[in-house]
Structure formats: structure tokens, C-alpha cells
Amino acid sequence: MSTIHSHVLVCAGAGCVASGAHDVSDALQEALRKHNLNTEVDLIHTGCLGPCAIGPVAVVYPDGIFYQGIKPEDAEEIVSEHLLKGRPVERLNFKMPATAQIIPALQEIGFFQQQQKIVLRNCGVIDPTVIDEYIARDGYQALAKALTEMTPEQVTDCVKNSGLRGRGGAGFLTGLKWEFTRKAQGDKKYVLCNADEGDPGAFMDRSVLEGDPHSVIEAMIIAGYAIGADQGYVYVRAEYPLAVERLENALQQAREMGLLGTNIMGTDFSFDLEIRMGSGAFVCGEETALMRSIEGKRGEPRPRPPFPANAGLWEKPTLLNNVETYANIPVIITNGAEWFAAIGSEKSKGTKVFALAGAVNNTGLVEVPIGMPLGEIVYDIGGGIPGGKAFKAAQIGGPSGGCIPRQYLNVSVDYESLQELGAIMGSGGLIVMDEDTCMVDMSRFFLDFVQDESCGKCVPCRVGTKRMLEIVDRICKGQGEEGDVEKLLSLGQQIKDTALCGLGQTAPNPVLSAIRHFRDEFDIHIREKRCPAGVCPDLVRAPCMSACPANVYVPGFVSLIGEKRYAEALRVHRDSNPFASVCARVCFHTCEDKCRRATLDDSVSIRGIKRFMVDQEVTIQLPEMRENEANAKRKIAVIGAGPAGLTCAYFLARLGYQPKVFEASPRPGGMLVQTIPAYRMPREELAREIRMIERMGVEIETEKALGKDFTLQQLRDEGYEAVFLGVGAPLGAKLPIANEDADGVHDAIEFLREYNLRGNATVGKKVVVIGGGNSAIDAARTAVRLGAESVTVLYRRTRDEMPAYKEEIEEAENEGVILKTLVAPQEIVVENGKAVGVRCDHMWLGDFDKSGRRRPQAREDGDSFVESADQIIAAIGQSLDTNKVLDNVPAKLNLSGYVAADPLYGQTSVDWLFAGGDASDGPSSVAEAIGAGERAAVGIDKHLTGEEHAFWREEYDVDTEFDPDADPVEAPRAKMKMLPAERRAHNFNEVELAFTESVAVREARRCLRCDYCAEPAEETASR
């Protein structure tokens, strides 16, 4: 026997190994040996435990104590204190959010724990091929009870009172159906089971038939007894051979035991069942079509009434339920109607099985009480979205259903609530979609499906869906027109009103629901000819390009780097984005998130390559400029010398204009110079690119503030024909708690600006930063560098929800910043008029808010605590004083309170005024500001000349070598190196180190060249 009493799990995931897990493991082993514990304690290397950022991490079982950031020298203490004496080392101890815990026992795993299994009670538990196992788990007891203790009426009433509703789609009360069929006149009646589970994405019926076939058989016999039938059919789709095999075997066993056939269990009730296999027609899932198919005919639906309860199979009264509905019956009979009615929501009783699929970690079947919030199914049971991507929508109900977007994650999943949102429960297919799914493309998929599967009998379904498909097809190809969406809506409504069967009537649902919740996505496809998700092939040259807000020709410059043609590469980059060097440092590379190489191994380090590229530049080259005397005479003002304003000026200059830029602060650069710290954005690099823009004929006048030194109207009076408003969102939001104005409380923007523009800022010894965004992290890391003894960041949700960029958070922690999550400040504690701390409540994450994130709520049991501090920096948001800026110019505001601008041209509701960047979008990224600046330049040119002249937008191919037939060479993604934390935490030197030439070139060659397709496409076409 082994005497092992504890397990120490050391994470050997890549992250922890990188931060020294092997050394820690060796040290632990050594310490165990020293204390003679190596025979009693097992040291185990596990796969990644999740929280890589705080590695190396380890868990000690059985107590489940989690240690983070372990160093080899901590090993001795862990062994001598915890393993020998049973006292966890608090210094290293860290309470995990529930999600990242590893729990060994099956019963405690979240995926299984939160489910309630009624339908799936035996699936995965019994051997479906052995009837004894079903009987051992009370199988056929319900049948015995029904046959010997209950009348058919009582059985029917029991089902009725349970509140069970049909699990196949519309959710009709099962008991009522039974009653209608029981009361129907007829010498011969039938019981049917619909196992033609055709909705793509639903497979619970297959699972029940394969895993617990007797539960369906038992239920159908009970149904036969209740309605007075002696014959039944199970209609199984041909795609489920294993289900057929197991059902066949189960029928055989039941017959042999006298549970099926004549005189069941010695009573005078007789009933038999046959299997009928489908032959690949989706429409046969519709009840009238299914019955025709059993009759041996073409499976075409017919109008109802008459309903099957009166005239069904061979015109006899027929009861039809689906597999999942039947699987509930034996338990209802055994445990009683009241027991069942106590589960679920008010109008929807019992449980529902969902087939979780798509972009979710735990794909599979889950059974939950009806009424569970959608978010809990997706996150608590489904384990959330893989790859840290964002939840976009869940498609429920297959081709008859619709999608539920993230603002409704709290929706109770029941028949009525789903219907209100335009989806249906359907058969329970639940497909999770992340940000990479295009809703227009999804609409096309479902239309293609119903078009293909339409039986063709009625015109609305056959022709109507075809017309809808043609329209959506056009939209996906970039040939959409204004009015297309309206056409789709009216066609959809017509089909709903006039199609013959349930499937036809619901066929437009997926499209109607996509339009309802994602109308803007259709509009972007139609107006901007753009697919934001990067899916529609005709609108996406390469996914990285469509992900880049500035639309940089990424594969172009990357492949030029692969051939060491650096100057040309930079030219390609600056064709769409002047700030190559800035973006090489601060851009958060949405391009890399969409990189297709990630499906092979890992995304290309596009920013790393860019960083190498800009370092090769000796003298800055000017881009192609087209002189234009007429344009040069027009007066254009750009307000704000941030990335949006300077980009706008840059592109105007390329068109021959000579705009003038007004900047309120002493130095141009906007947030790039005022708040982004120098360790991320060396000032000389920024100055170089600004000088380039000035050399193009752009004049920048500093210390000229709109609303203080001049007004928009004055500019008009001075003859400016167009004005671009790029003033950003420069005000920090105030804390909404008591004593927010105490001495020692600062706002992060002010703090950063003071340091960055004046070269110094007062910093406390014990600094607390409140907030979870990028400014919070920037402020925290700046405070570390300015000599604060401790810097703590307080955030009210968890780390996963922090809006700050992951890598920044990790670097901040490496530099000693302490992160405290799930705490919410309640008041600033003041002594003698000076802030001395923040009183906080402990929070937990409750239901989902409109952004699809869980809402932090104060824990009732949690005491509040005071985080002491002598300086408190609030980084909870930014704003813009639009009254001051606009000063009676009647430009409209958008819903977020910023200046509303047209997405294509940046034009505001006042025709000469254009806006972009944070001033219009609210705080967003540098790349987005650059993109907005470019669009406004095009818009201003169009406004002044009536035409577009954006010559840089014309598509071109680079002439780099590429062999499309060659298999991609396997190569891991190159990592940018960092200055070691101890060498960077106390100065403002740039922390990131560029690639060497060989690394950069190799990395560039990892690009799969998604842009490369024009020629091969023609070739295929001509073949």
C-alpha cells in the first residue's frame, strides 16, 4: 500500500516553466527528501493551472491550498510548515477565483455540478446494452405502477399536472396532447416517437437513444396505455446508426422479458414498437411529414388541422412526442407530478438538455433546470469562450430559432423569455459564437440550409427563402444596397404568415433575429463594404487587414521584411498609417488576434516585426504626395495634435492641402505624449514621426486651446472651410464616493500629464490606484518609477474583466505592482484633511450586465477593510466637456455623449465640422484614432471638392516571392524580449527589446499570405 497522503501539483505549463517552475520543483523535491517526506508526498507536474501571470504556481492537496509566485527558496518553508506541520504558508497563499481551481472529484467539477439530470439520468451511467442495468436503476417501475395502480386517465392527468412541455420545439403541453389523443374517437391509435433530430447543433436525442434506450421504450408503452394504442413507431434519422443498433437491441430484450408485446407484465395490455429509419430529409422532423414518411410516402407536410391527435398516421389518432419528452415520462410517473412541477420556472417545468457547441470550452450535453440564466450555462457550465475571446451571441433553436446577444446573458432560458427575444427553445441546440463570427454570414448559412432542405411543396418557403438567400449573398459579396435589409424583413414576414408547415413558417427566424440584434453589422456590410468579423471572403483581403482599424496592408509590409526590403516595407505601412514607429510600440495589434497562422501554431508577431522595421529607418522618407495648387489655398483647421488630428493632417497634406493644427498643450502628440509613459513610447520616436508630418507642409501651433484661446465660430470667421475636431477625451472622471476631493486624491490623467509634460509629479510612498483600465496600469507603473514604496491597484471585478491590456498588467506585476481584485472603494478615509486610505467592500460577481460581463456585487458576509495609502489615484474613466468645445455649434452628440460622426467620413451633423478619435468614440485605441483621422481626411476632401481622391486606398500587391503550394514551415512565434524587471522598474527606459534581423526575417516568413489569392482565383475560374 502506498502511504502517500499529500499531492503537490506544480504547474508545468509553459508560462510557469518560463518563470522558473522547474527550479521550484527541484527545490521542493530536495526539501521533501530532506524532511523524509518523499515517500508520503507526491510531487506532480500538471498542465497549465491557468493563472500563468502569477507563476510559478502550485496546489497542495488534499487541502487545495494554492501558492503563487513561488521561488526556489520558498520550497523549504512550504515543506516544513505546510506539509510537515499542516500550516499553509500565508505569505504565498492565494485564494483563487472559483473558475481556476482544479478539483479532483467528479462530483465537484463545475461542468457536472450545476446540472440536474433527469432526462440524462442514466446516460453515461448504465450499460445501454444490458436491460438489467436499467432495471436496477428502477427501470420499468413506472410502467408497472401505471399498468397496475393507475387508470389511463390518471396517467394522463399525472403527465398533464407535471407541466411537462414538448421538448422538440414549440413547447406544447405534453399532457394536453395525451388527453386529446386519449379522447379522440378511433379503433386504432398510434404512439410515435420523433427521433429525426435534424436541427443542426442538437444531439441530445441521439445521446438518449444511445445511452438509455429503455427510458424511451418504457415511456412509449406508458403512453400507449394512456391513450389506448397498441402499436408505436420510433422514427430515427439514418445518420444515427449506433442509436438504431442500441434501440433495436433494447427492443429485443424488452420483448424477451415480456415488457413489450402481448400481455405486458402479465396484464391484459399489449403494445409493440417498430423502428423506422429516415432517409435524409430534414422536413421529416415536422410531424405531419414524419407521419407520411412512416406511411411510405414522400415526406411532405400537410396543413393542420386536422391535428394528429384526431387524424394522424394512416388518418388514425396519433400521439407524437420527441425522444427527450419521452425520457421524462418514467420519472414523472414514479416520482409524481408535484415533484416534477417543483423543478424549473413558473411556466416551464422540469429540465432541458442543451447541446453546447461552437466557441465554448466545454462542448457537450448539459441538462439544467429550465429558467437558468443563459450566462450561467455558457460560463459556469460551458467554461466560457476559448482563447479569451469575447462572447458575441448564442444561437438557440437551430434553423427555426434565433440568436441572443450578450446584453441578454441574464435571460432566463425558458420558452417564453426566449421567444420574446426572437429565439426559440427548439430542440436545444445552443451554439456559442464569439467575435469571429459574422452575423450576416450566419444568416446566409441558415438560409442556405432551409433553402436546401425545403421540401418545395409551398411557394413561400421554396421561393421566399431563395429570394432572401440571394439578397444576403449579395450583401456578403459587398454588393448590398440600401433597402436590402427592409426587403429581408418584409419577405421574412410574408413567409412567416403564409408558409404551410412549422418549419417553413420559422425558416426566416434566424435572419430576422440577426437583423434585430445585429442590424449595424448588416449596415456595415452594405454601406462600408466591410466585414468586421473578418469572415466574408469578398470583403476581407486578409483577416489581419480587416482587423486593423487603420487598414494597414499587413501581409505587404511583413513579406517585404521577409526579403529585407525595409524601406519599401515602411512605405507600404505609411501608405495607410503614418505612425509606424508609434504603433510598433503602443498598438495592441488586433491584427494578431485574427491572424490565421494561429490555427496552425501561433499568430505572427506582427508588432514585433514592425518594431524591427522602424528601427532600420535612418532618415525618414516622405510618402507620395500629390501637389495641388487649388487645394493648397483652402483653409482647413485640425484641432488637437493627437494621433487622430495628426493623421488627418498627414492625409490632407498628401492630397495637396496645407492644414493648420492647433494644440492646447505645449507639445504635440496628444495622449501619446501626455499619458503614455516614456518606457512604452520613447519621446524621440514620436517626435520623428511628427517632424515628418510637419515637413509635409503641416503647421502645428501649440498652447492654443479650443474653448479658451479660440472658438469654432472664430475659425469659421477667419475663413476656415472645414474643421477636424480631434481633441480627445482629456478629462479624468471623479470618484463617485465620499471625500473624493480630499488632499492626496488625484485623477490618473492629471497625474500622468503632470509627469509627462512637466517632467515631475508628486508621488506618495504608499500609492493606491483605483481602476482596471490602461490609464490605471500606466499610472501604477509610473508611480513605481517615481519611487513609490508600494503601489496597489484596486479593481472591482476580476482580472479577466480588466479592460487594460493583458501584457501591460503582467508587466506591471513583474515590476512589483500589487493587484487586488473584487474590491470596490466605498469612501476615502481622511485624517486631518488628508487622505490616509480607501475603505473597500469585498465583491463577488453576480449576474450579467449589458456588456456581457458579470456585475460586481457587495458580498453580504464580507467586512469592509481599509487599504491604507498616502496617495490615491483614480483611473475610472475619461470624458470630454462638449459644451465647452462646441460652444453653440449645433453638432449632435452620440449615445455615449461624444460628438457624433459619420462612420465613413467622420462628418458631424454640421457639414463643415468633422470629428474622430476619442472625441467621437470615447476612450479607444491609437490605431482607431489613426483610422478615424484618415477617414475624416477623405471626408473633408470630398466635402470641399465633391469627390474622393484617396489614391492610397487603391489596392495593390507587393511583388514579394510566395509559393502558395508549399506547406508552411513549422516555426514557433518569436517573442520580444524585455529588460529584466530590476533593470527597468526605476527608470523610464524603453522596456521592450527589438528582434534581431535574423529573428525578424524568420518571423516575417511565418506569414501565410492570406492576401495572396487574386491570381490563383482567376486560374481556377478559367480552368
Binding site: 433530430e197 435534424g198 436541427d199 443542426p200 447543433g201 442538437a202 444531439f203 436525442d205 441521439r206 445521446s207 439514418a238 445518420e239 444515427y240 446508426p241 449506433l242 423506422r276 429509419m277 429516415g278 432517409s279 435524409g280 430529409a281 430534414f282 414518411s293 412512416i294 406511411e295 411510405g296 410516402k297 414522400r298 415526406g299 411532405e300 394512416w314 447541446a355 453546447l356 457547441a357 461552437g358 466557441a359 462542448t363 457537450g364 450535453l365 444561437q395 437551430g398 441546440g429 451554439i431 459564437m433 463570427t437 448559412f445 441558415f446 440550409f449 436546401d452 432542405e453 421540401c455
Partner: protein, 178 residues
Amino acid sequence: MVDKEQGSCCCTEEASEEQLLARLDEVIADYKDKPGALIPVLQLAQAIFGYLPENVLRKISLGLDKSYSEVAGVVGFYSFFSTQPRGKHIIRVCLGTACYVRGGKQVLDAIKDRLGVDVGETTPDRTFSLDVARCFGACGLAPAIMIDDDVHQRVKAARLQQILDQYIDQDQATAASA
């Protein structure tokens, strides 16, 4: 593998046309008096012949006392029935939602490329026929394809040949042992 039953197959060589027709007669006799017999008989007939040639349909129409047009109408309605000779193995590529989201279309393109046939066609050597399907309920394993009765999970273009080879090898083994 646990269940290897190829050796126990009774037919050592291809059954003759007459033998097959005789088997069809048995099937028809079995089902003649059952209500709704047409579809099960067609399914079994397709299993016997591999497809449904005209003479077989005529025989069924006579045997079950149904008009030829009714039989042909039913055959035409259901996508599983084929009046053309099919390959030894039927490949069905799932294009259900989950598979579509996870790249089922790319898998289909890769198979078309590799076999040189389009959907609904059969390779010249009659080894494989290619079809698309709408979900066989293996969504947790998307993208999935089904070859005969086996579902193959998480199919990647790179792994396709390996999967197809299994069937080719199996055929050769059967041929060799015969």
C-alpha cells in the same frame, strides 16, 4: 480493435446479380404485408445493391403493388436514395452549424480536391462517393465527417489522407483474405 468481423463474412466473392435479386425477393416477401413497407424495403434494397437501379425499383413496385411513379417519387424525395451506382464507401461531410463554424467547408473543399470529385459524385474507381450532410449530432467534435457508419471527429485537411487510407487498406485486406 475489438470487433473485427470481416473474416466471418459469408460471401467469399461478389454475389451474382441473381443472388442479389433473390435476396431482394426475400425482403419483399418479409415486408409485403406490413403497413408503410416501401421505405424500409428501399433502404434494404439499397444496402443489397449499393444503389437503386431501375430494374430493382420495378421489382419493388410490382412486389409491393405500388405504381412505378409512386416508387420513383419516393426515391427522388429522400437524399439517401441513389439511382446511380455509388462508391464502396460513402463520405458525408457535415455542414451543420457547429461544423460550419469550425471549418466544415474547408474540410469539404479539401476532400473534393483530394478525390477529384464534386458533391454527389463517385470516384472513377468506385471507392468513394461524396455527399454533404446536415449534422449527425457530433457537434462537440466539429468538424466531423462520416464514412459509412463511422463518425470521424475534428477532421483536419492534413489528416484526411490518413483517414481515407484506413478504408482503402481495409478493402485490400478483405480482398486479400478472400
